[in-house]
């Protein structure tokens, strides 16, 4: 009797172990994670906080994506990197994607990172400069990528280009403080933040207040990759949106994440940078990552009017909502 009981017990154990093994094997049949490379437009910093969050919080892993971030920097063209096959995805300015498309390069935006343009203009408060009208007759510091914004704002205020002077200078706090150039262009998440941290009393002029509403960083891929692997694109978009949602909800967690990719980064400063980016990413009037045809058209018209775009193009070829729609639809 005792022997019988023992045997049945063993049998049950063996069956249980076998079933378990099969179950585990079936579970492990899930395909290995798809390796994906994303080319950044700049060196590692909180600007890409949403991607780091997607990686560190496991959103990429949950989608079966093994993501690698390839650092960008001065003179590095993310469009070329993606077209050459170095990466499948990239982060680039919306204007850069428009320009690339007008040159016949088969790339397309699939989600926005910054729904608002971080470019602003600022002056020391004691100069009394508070509006773009006061730019007339003055010198303005602006780098090449800020020019479309500046020109569009001044055109909106009916101030002709010959009425002001532009100089291209490195971002240098001491030089700004010297007052030699009264008005500076910069990123609200960059120099503006640095100046405020350093205790300077500055007046910030937002182009959003003067008729200029532009996208900035966008996630893009090639037409060919979209056609070949639509499912991978949807999964990357969904993980990126989840990462961005995490970043705007818990910006203080982003600084330490940046330090994992860039050992020179100051975690506290990067977290502050992330906090300053929240209104750029999350408008409250539309979903994170979403894009709007009218806004793309506006950017196109501005760049065309300033001669940045050589010819008119159909903006519906520049971006697609297909993957955003699919990733949001799947969430529900």
């Amino acid at each position: 009797m005792l022997k019988g009981v023992f045997s049945i017990k063993r049998l049950v154990l063996v069956i249980f172990w076998a079933v378990n093994l099969v179950a585990c094997t079936v579970g492990n049949e899930k395909p290995a994670a798809v390796p994906v490379a994303i080319k950044l437009r700049w060196t590692h910093n909180a600007q890409f906080g949403g991607l780091y969050a997607a990686d560190q919080e496991g959103y990429f892993a949950a989608e079966g994506i093994d993501a690698t971030f390839l650092e960008g920097g001065p003179g590095i063209d993310p469009i070329a990197a993606v077209l050459d096959g170095e990466a499948q995805f990239g982060i680039a300015g919306a204007d850069v994607i428009l320009l690339a498309r007008s040159q016949g390069k088969p790339v397309r935006a699939i989600a926005t990172i910054y729904q608002r343009n971080p470019v602003v203009f600022f002056a020391l408060t004691n100069t009394g400069i508070t509006t773009p009208q006061q730019f007339a007759g003055k010198t303005i510091r602006a780098t090449l990528d800020m020019l479309p914004t500046l020109r569009a704002m001044m055109a909106f205020m009916a101030i002709p280009p010959e009425a002001y002077q532009i100089v291209e200078l490195p971002s240098d706090i001491a030089r700004f403080a010297s007052g030699e150039v009264p008005i500076w262009g910069g990123f609200v998440t960059g120099m503006v933040l640095d100046l405020q941290q350093a205790g300077y009393d500055i007046q910030v002029i937002y182009p959003d207040n003067y008729g200029v509403h532009l996208y900035a960083d966008t996630l893009f891929t090639t037409d060919a990759f979209m056609a070949e692997s639509p499912d991978v694109v949807t999964r990357v978009v969904r993980a990126t949106r989840n990462g961005l949602t995490f970043a705007v909800t818990q910006p203080e967690a982003i600084g330490p994440m940046v330090a994992l990719y860039n050992d020179q980064a100051d975690p506290a400063a990067e977290s502050l940078r992330m906090m300053a980016s929240i209104p750029l990413i999350q408008s409250g009037t539309t979903r994170i990552g979403w894009m709007d045809q009218a806004k793309w058209q506006e950017m196109h018209d501005i760049l065309l009017a300033q001669g940045v775009l050589p010819n008119e193009i159909d903006v519906s070829t520049v971006f697609t909502l297909a993957f955003l729609e699919k990733s949001i639809g799947d969430e529900k």
Binding site: T131, Y210, G211, T245, T249, I278, L280, S283, T285
Partner: protein, 1004 residues
């Protein structure tokens, strides 16, 4: 086994089964009723908060609309939208809005900021927050929608404010409905949070909050989240609600804590409202009951085991009592107590059951407590709140509702609506209730009902009430009594109607002013007198435009004296009408006081006495006018004389007054300098003394026409004599003035010295004649030279050819070579002379123009070129249409021949392909000759038409360089132009035009 053991075991088993059965039943039923009660409370709280939120938003919208409808706000906004900031009127309007109007809406829990936006570009013209002025909001939804209707935007994140904002906007429209500006208010979201938080302190975990369509928290959370729109909240309740569903159910909230929740989707605001309470708190009373039951059960088993044997002996009677008692309790009578007549274990057991009954009573008390809290919320509300069944029976009613019906809630609960309200109202209400219950929708409306003999006005809202399974069980009616507000509105309208009727039928002028002089009333008599409509003057200070400048201060003084109590009074003054007319008016004024005894309105009643005043004034004026006119005329004559004298003396040209017979009597300095005479000398002479005899006849003739008045004046260029005897050319402008009797009075003449111009004209004419002569001579020379040179040249050539034939090979080799050069040179000279001759003949030996067919011309040219065409295998074609034009046929053949031979000569490696094109222009025929030859650099396009100009060396291409010069001359003789387009190695196209004005017919 002993009977006692069996009995003890059996009894224990029965006890356990009984305790467990009663316990489970009681626990389940308590839990169900408690859950149902909590769900109902949560649903009602959600509905109340929703109603409160909507009321708050609607109040805010109405506040904004009221400001937008103010006449002064419209007027000032129009000023800001149309003028520049440096305009004094703009500054005045800005001040008024900034001080008197916009701040009214701030700080009442409604708005944080109020702004006015220009409709054309969305610029913020004025704002209570000065830092926003000058910004543009041209693409904001609230700006775009606010141009046509009042609109509240769902909360959004603002980059510039770095926070959450919610805007309400409404259009400011003119009297005609045109858009003047958009009024925008930035709502106080703190107030929204406060509405959600009201009553939260009554519980430990209950909270109501709002979530936007993207899952972001909009109001503060009870559990630490105080940064709206920064955090997404994710729970089954939120997700279900965002699909547009409303329900009450149990789920884990965003903290992953189990809650009982009620949620509703608010489509107008695109927001979800949720009310949740932790399951632990909500069901705390039944949990406590379960604990107690467990302990009691264990105790009962222990006691039952110990007392088994004793029970086996003496249990019959006590056991029956116990069983009966338990049955009564199980039936629900919790007041029943088991009779305790023993001190033994059975007694303890009986005590245990009694304690259990007490615990059940505690639960009922908790239920009542919850009921009380809910009643406190419902009874505390301003509204009349009731719950009504599908058949119209009142299930519940708060005191406020009962008071409206004239009694206490108990008087009406359970009563059908038809019994309490008049039939039409009851039927209407019942139909609404049934619609809400059947279709699950919300109804909101404003209506009146006669209750207890009085008409009462209500703003009511009817919503479905759901049970825990989502079925609609009844309807919730929330009604606000707005009777007093309505009655006041009606009374006001009636009173205004009465006053308006008086004012609009009175013949007298009636004007009403506020205590600052702004026009508040302006009857039809005022409108008829002034020409202004009430709409144009409403709200404007009357002294700004109705009073004469000189009377303003006096009238203002009277106005201020009235403020100080000096009324009624009378006075007279003038009004200025819209057309600028003055009207005298006799006024009787009085004031209307407010409740504090201060002047509220000034009312003036006036009669137009302009005519009476005019008659008086006219008599006085007449006398004065006559005297003044005499003085004025005298002064005018003196001034006119002075002006004339100055104009006369200082004129740069000569100016002369003479008698009609021509006797000078006044001359100016310029004329004296022109003629060399002094004024005295000239006054001794007549016009005819100094006029050159050649112009005397024409001068007299003109004078005759002036005197007969067939011409008013005339101009003439003539010569007059200088004192020195020289002749001066002058241009004369002469006019004859007549007196009142039509008798000639003065001859006025303006004289301009044009001697220099005349001399220059003569010189130009002389040079032109010289040039023409020289040209003719040159052509003659070219013709004669080339013609006469031919004869000796022929002789030279003939003898050279003779030399060559006869002595070739007989002299040395140098001699042969030299003779060859000489023959070649003579041949070229012959060609040059012939070409030069043709060139000169174009101008001198051309034939008269006659109609010529280009088809014939071209055929002849091609025949002439036949040899070279064959040699080079040239393909020549032309357009189908070749017109007939007017020209010199011979020259036209030469023109085509030259151009075609050029095209053949400057061919490339390939055989020449030449196309002759014809195109009709506006007034010309344009011909083109296009080839596929070697072409040339376009910079030489002009040079090739110059005589003897060549682009290539003679060794490569023969010719004299005259052909194209001849072409140019032929085309120009025909009144056309010639030009060329060419590129090296890309062929050449010559174009020329021939005027088509004498064209006869185009042929195919």
């Amino acid at each position: 086994m002993k009977l006692s053991s069996k009995l003890a075991g059996l009894f224990m088993a029965i006890s356990i089964l009984t305790v467990a059965g009663v316990g489970v039943l009681a626990f389940q039923s308590s839990r169900r009723s408690l859950e149902a009660k909590v769900f109902e409370d949560l649903a009602k709280t959600t509905l109340l908060k929703e109603a409160e939120l909507e009321r708050w938003l609607r109040n805010n919208e109405q506040d904004l609309e009221k400001v937008a409808q103010r006449p002064l706000v419209k007027q000032y906004a129009a000023t800001l939208a149309s003028l520049q900031p440096d305009d004094p009127a703009y500054q005045e309007a800005y001040q008024q809005l900034d001080i008197d109007h916009l701040p009214l809406l701030i700080g009442t829990g409604g708005y944080l900021t109020i702004s006015i936006l220009r409709p054309s570009d969305g610029q913020i013209l004025i704002s209570t927050d000065k830092s926003l002025e000058g910004f543009f909001r041209e693409n904001e939804t609230y700006f775009l929608k606010g141009q046509s209707q009042t609109y509240t935007q769902t909360p959004a994140y603002s980059l510039v404010d770095n926070g959450v904002v919610m805007h309400t906007s409404t259009p400011i429209l003119s009297k005609d409905g045109d858009l003047i500006a958009v009024l925008v208010g930035h709502q106080d979201l703190g107030e929204m949070s406060r509405i959600m938080e009201q009553g939260r302190e009554l519980t430990a975990t209950e909270e109501t909050y709002l979530v936007n369509q993207f899952g972001f928290l909009v109001t503060n959370s009870r559990f630490g989240v105080t940064s709206p729109l920064r955090v997404t909240v994710n729970s089954p309740g939120v997700n279900d609600c965002l699909t547009g569903t409303s329900a009450t159910t149990i789920y884990n909230d965003y903290r992953d804590v189990p809650v009982l929740g009620s949620y509703r989707w608010l489509p107008n605001l695109a927001l979800c409202i949720l009310t949740e309470i932790d399951q632990q708190e909500a069901l705390a009373p039944v949990v406590s009951l379960r604990q107690k039951m467990l302990w009691l059960g264990i105790l009962a088993i222990v006691v039952a085991s110990g007392a088994g044997i004793f029970f086996s002996r003496s249990l019959t009677k006590s056991l029956r009592q116990l069983t009966v008692g338990m049955e009564i309790m199980a039936a629900g009578n919790l007041d029943h107590r088991v009779q305790v007549d023993r001190q033994d274990e059975l007694g303890t057991l009986a005590n245990g059951f009694n304690q259990m009954a007490a615990s059940l009573e505690t639960i009922q008390a908790a239920l009542s407590d919850s009921e009380r809290k809910y009643r406190a919320v419902v009874e505390g509300a301003d509204a009349a709140i009731s719950t009504i069944a599908h058949d119209g029976t009142f299930l519940f009613m708060n005191t406020n509702a009962a008071r409206q019906l004239g009694g206490q809630p108990d008087d009406f609960i359970g009563q059908p609506m038809a019994k309490l309200l008049p039939k039409p109202a009851a039927d209407r209400q019942l139909q609404s209730i049934q619609t809400v219950i059947t279709e699950g929708i919300n109804l909101v409306r404003e209506s009146s009902t006669v209750i207890t003999g009085q008409t009462r006005w209500y703003n009511s809202r009817i919503q479905p009430v759901y049970d825990s399974e989502g079925h609609i069980t009844a309807a919730l009616l929330i009604a606000y009594d707005i009777t007093s507000q309505k009655e006041a509105e009606i009374a006001l309208v009636e009173e205004r109607g009465f006053v308006d009727a008086i004012m609009d039928t009175a013949e007298a002028l009636i004007i009403g002013l506020d205590n600052e002089g702004h026009i508040m009333r302006f009857n039809w008599a005022c409108e008829a007198l002034t020409g202004y409509s009430f709409g144009e003057v409403a709200g404007r200070p009357f002294w700004d435009f109705l009073l004469l400048e000189e009377e303003k201060e006096e009238i203002k003084k009277v106005f201020h004296q009235m403020q100080a109590g000096d009324f009624p009074n009378t006075h007279e003054n003038y009004w200025l009408t819209k057309s600028g007319e003055r009207r005298a008016i006799a006024w009787a004024n009085t004031c209307q006081l407010d409740t504090l005894g201060k002047v509220k309105y000034v009312i003036g009643t006036g009669i137009d006495i302009t005519k009476q005043k005019q008659t008086e004034a006219e008599l006085i004026q007449l006398n004065q006018t006559l005297e003044q006119r005499v003085a004025d005329r005298t002064e005018e004559v003196v001034q006119s004389e002075k002006r004339f004298r100055a104009a006369f003396d200082l004129a740069a040209i000569g100016r002369v007054l003479a008698t009609p017979e021509g006797q000078f009597f006044q001359v100016n300095q310029a004329f004296c300098e022109m003629t060399g005479y002094s004024e005295e000398e000239l006054c001794q002479k007549t016009w005819w003394d100094i006029t050159h005899p050649d112009f005397l006849a024409s001068g007299h003739d003109y004078m005759q026409q002036l005197i007969q008045r067939t011409i008013p004046s005339y101009n003439e260029e003539l010569t007059i004599a200088h004192k020195s005897g020289d002749t001066i050319w002058v241009r004369l402008n002469r006019i004859l003035l007549f007196n009142a009797d039509n008798q000639p009075l003065y001859l006025v003449s303006d004289i301009e010295n044009i001697t220099q111009r005349k001399t220059a004209e003569a010189e130009i004419n002389r040079i032109l004649a010289e040039l023409e002569r020289s040209n003719i001579e040159l052509q003659q020379f070219a013709y004669v030279a080339s013609h006469d040179l031919q004869e000796p040249l022929r002789m030279v050539t003939s003898y050279l050819q003779l030399l060559q034939r006869r002595y070739s090979g007989k002299l040395d080799s140098d001699a042969d070579e030299f003779i060859g050069y000489a023959v070649d040179g003579a041949n070229r000279m012959k060609q040059l002379i012939q070409d030069l001759l043709s060139f000169s003949r174009v101008g001198t030996r051309g034939k008269p123009f006659e109609p010529v067919e280009i088809k014939v011309i071209l055929k002849e040219a091609l025949t002439n070129l036949e040899t070279s065409i064959q040699e080079t295998a040239a393909q020549i074609d032309h357009d189908d249409l070749l017109p007939t034009i007017t020209g010199d046929a011979g020259q036209l053949v030469q023109l085509f021949q030259n151009l075609l031979s050029n095209a053949i000569k400057f061919r490339s490696e390939a055989p020449p392909k030449i196309h002759i094109g014809v195109q009709k222009q506006e007034s010309d025929w344009q011909f083109s000759i296009r080839d596929n030859g070697i072409g040339f650099d376009p910079q030489f396009s002009d040079r090739i038409f110059i005589i003897f100009q060549r682009l290539h060396t003679r060794a490569n291409y023969g010719g004299t360089g005259i052909g194209l010069a001849i072409c140019k001359k032929i085309v120009e003789r025909h009144g056309g132009n010639i030009w060329v387009h060419s590129q090296p190695n890309a062929g050449t196209t010559f174009y020329f035009t021939i005027p088509a004005d004498t064209i006869q017919k185009a042929e195919l």
